[in-house]
């Protein structure tokens, strides 16, 4: 046991390190894009607590569906940053052999079934994945991450209603980050909280501070226990904010600077770091060590991705059919 491992509560350390890893990963992706070395991607900067908190509550049996802003979910689930970054660069070593690119990465071995970049596509598949769970047995549940924008697509209504009527074990996680590409959420709905929509379907729901990883972890654990036990859906809203533009590069000049600033002050990583330091749950030295580890992993990932080969031209037409 090193001092580090003794002084920091393991889950807390894990949560912080996972969030740091996501942030570093996203900044690396964005940098590659800015340098003309990568196609566009959507980062999850500012939303790390939501990804990490929910993943903290899941285990191996569970399956995950997510959307275009999925790198955080994948990393929090334990995916290899090398293979994610390789996929973003369209390399053969990526999780999908380079065919997906950043927007639809799936990782079967981690239970990540079919990320969708069609907004709402993840919601359309979720009940079916849960139906497999229901019919093929086991205690696994399905978690589907979707945005506040996806909630305004009709398929949200159809998906959660079906899950309710058929008693499907789906945890709906709405990451309400206040933006839908270039449109503020308030332009798209009168309600402030998507969790309030659960009532129509007879689905229990809750909103949690999506910038507080411990709060998300606690809420997600309750929600997962409910879904796993009752085999019914639950709607968890993580209330958060997209701190970068919609996609890279996006100067996001349409964002109200005051609103952005107020959320920057609630950055889920900076506030958590500070809290852990204040509570002496972590020392500055430990934090530095953690950051170095993360930096090393991301640098290694970048190198791996950059050096990996592109797929061969035959791959253009393989995997069209099973």
């Amino acid at each position: 046991m090193t001092t580090f491992e003794v002084s920091v509560e393991p889950r807390v350390a894990q949560s912080l390190e996972a969030m740091l890893l996501i942030r570093a990963f996203e900044e690396q992706s964005a940098a590659l894009n800015a340098a003309g070395k990568s196609p566009s991607m959507c980062t999850s900067v500012g939303q790390e607590a939501s990804a990490v908190g929910v993943m903290n509550a899941l285990d191996e049996r569970d399956q995950i569906l997510t959307n275009h802003r999925s790198a955080g979910h994948l990393l929090a689930r334990g995916a290899d940053p090398r293979r994610i970054l390789a996929e973003i660069l369209g390399k053969s070593t990526g999780y999908c052999g380079g065919k997906s690119g950043s927007l639809h990465i799936s990782v079967k071995e981690l239970g990540v079934v079919l990320t969708s970049t069609i907004v709402g596509g993840e919601l359309s598949l979720a009940p079916g994945v849960a139906l497999s769970r229901q019919m093929l047995g086991g205690e696994g549940i399905v978690v589907v991450f979707f945005g506040d924008g996806a909630a305004t697509e009709g398929i949200f209504h159809e998906s959660i209603n079906l899950a309710a009527v058929w008693n499907l074990p789906v945890l709906y996680v709405c990451e309400n980050n206040q933006w839908q590409a270039f449109v503020h959420r308030k332009e798209t709905m009168l309600a402030d909280h998507i969790s309030t929509w659960g009532a129509s379907y007879g689905v229990k729901s809750q909103t949690v501070d999506g910038n507080d990883v411990d709060a998300v972890t606690a809420a997600a654990k309750d929600a997962v226990a409910y879904v796993r036990g009752t085999r019914k859906p639950f709607l968890l809203e993580t209330y958060t904010y997209r701190l970068r533009g919609h996609m890279e590069p996006d100067p996001a000049s349409y964002v109200d600077p005051a609103e952005l600033q107020s959320w920057k002050e609630r950055d889920p990583i900076a506030t958590y770091e500070q809290r852990l330091l204040d509570e002496h749950a972590i020392t500055p030295a430990e934090l530095d060590a953690m950051k170095s580890r993360v930096r090393a992993r991301i640098e290694d990932a970048a190198q791996f991705a950059m050096e990996s080969p592109y797929p061969s031209f035959e791959e253009l037409t393989t995997n069209v059919y099973a």
Binding site: S100, S106, P127, V129, G154, Y321, A322
Partner: protein
């Protein structure tokens, strides 16, 4: 009449295509516990099926085509083999996202990690006089979409055999059922009658002209061929059965023999299956062609409800005879 291997001992049962589909589904559900079926009213209308296999495997759904198809795709990716019934082809418009972007593409996008063994049934074509929001032959949309297979049988035996193949296929299969045929009884070989996807059927042999068709117009072509025979013209009739993959070899072999092709379907001409056939023929059997290729299709118009107009929608035997006579005279 189909090209599958038939045991000399095979006995035949007479049944409607509708009954043949029900039988195919029941047999496959018995064979494979992962086969399930759901859709609007599926459990109510498929009462016998629901009785035999229970409420878990035969389900009514809410009225929401998008999530029916999406749920099928999600279930297919994770171990089940769903057969969904989306009722009428125009209702597929509410499920295009799930069928095309998910079921059709995600095997490729995932680099082969996932596959989508699912069957989507939709009724199509004239014959019910209920108008354009219940009747549109849009099968070509799916032929034009990657990763899907598309079948459209013309007789009871093929309804059964193709549905069984579709259920066993590891890919998403669109199964179009021509309404005009559903209640016409036909002979179906007993037992495990399977018709392979991708094999056309030469339903009548001939040497002067090749009629390529599918669905209800198969019968118009056969009728036309009889009339043509009386006029000394020998027409070969090919029932495609599968629109994707399309049995190029059978079509090309026939056209190379006859030198003439008439392509017949109820769907509109522009970018339809007839266009695809004409292109394949003009590319690969050009030197055999003795006359211009001819398409006979439904009009490029919504389908009218009015009975006599609807009856005139799909090309009939007379029009086919006329077109062939003119083509042969050419």
């Amino acid at each position: 009449m189909s090209t599958h291997e038939e045991n000399a001992m095979t006995t035949m049962t007479t049944m409607t295509p509708e009954a043949a589909m029900a039988e195919a589904l029941a047999e496959e559900m018995r064979r494979d516990a992962t086969v399930i079926t759901f859709g609007e009213g599926v459990a109510t209308k498929g009462y016998a099926l629901a009785q035999e296999f229970g409420a878990q495997r035969v389900r009514n759904t809410p009225l929401a085509e998008g999530i029916i198809a999406g749920t099928a795709a999600g279930a297919a990716a994770t171990g089940l083999r769903p057969v969904i019934d989306l009722l009428f082809a125009p209702f597929l418009t509410f499920a295009m996202e799930e069928i095309v972007n998910s079921a059709g593409k995600l095997s490729y996008i995932s680099g082969g990690q996932f596959s989508f063994p699912m069957v989507t049934i939709a009724r199509t074509g004239s014959g019910w006089a209920v108008g354009a929001q219940h009747n549109q032959n849009n099968e070509a949309w799916f032929v034009h979409s990657p990763g899907l297979k598309v079948v459209m049988p013309s007789n009871a035996a093929d309804f059964k055999g193709l549905l069984k193949s579709a259920i066993r296929d590891d890919n998403p299969v669109m199964f179009f059922a021509d309404i005009g045929l559903l209640h016409t009884p036909g002979e179906v070989p007993s037992g495990d009658h399977v018709v392979p996807i991708g094999k056309a059927s030469v339903v009548r042999e001939g040497v002067d002209v090749t009629l390529v068709t599918y669905g209800k117009t198969v019968h118009s072509c056969v009728a036309a061929a009889s009339t043509l025979e009386e006029n000394g013209i020998s027409a070969e009739v090919i029932d495609l059965r599968s629109l994707k993959p399309l049995d190029e070899a059978t079509v090309l072999a026939s056209v190379r023999k006859t030198g003439r092709a008439v392509l017949v379907h109820e769907a509109a001409a522009p970018c339809g299956v007839g266009a695809e056939l004409a292109a394949i023929i003009a590319e690969k059997a050009f030197s055999s062609l003795r006359a211009p290729v001819v398409r006979l299709t439904g009009p490029d118009a919504p389908s009218p409800a009015s009975f006599p107009l609807e009856a005139a929608f799909a090309p009939g035997a007379d029009a086919i005879v006329e077109a062939v006579v003119k083509q042969v005279a050419n």
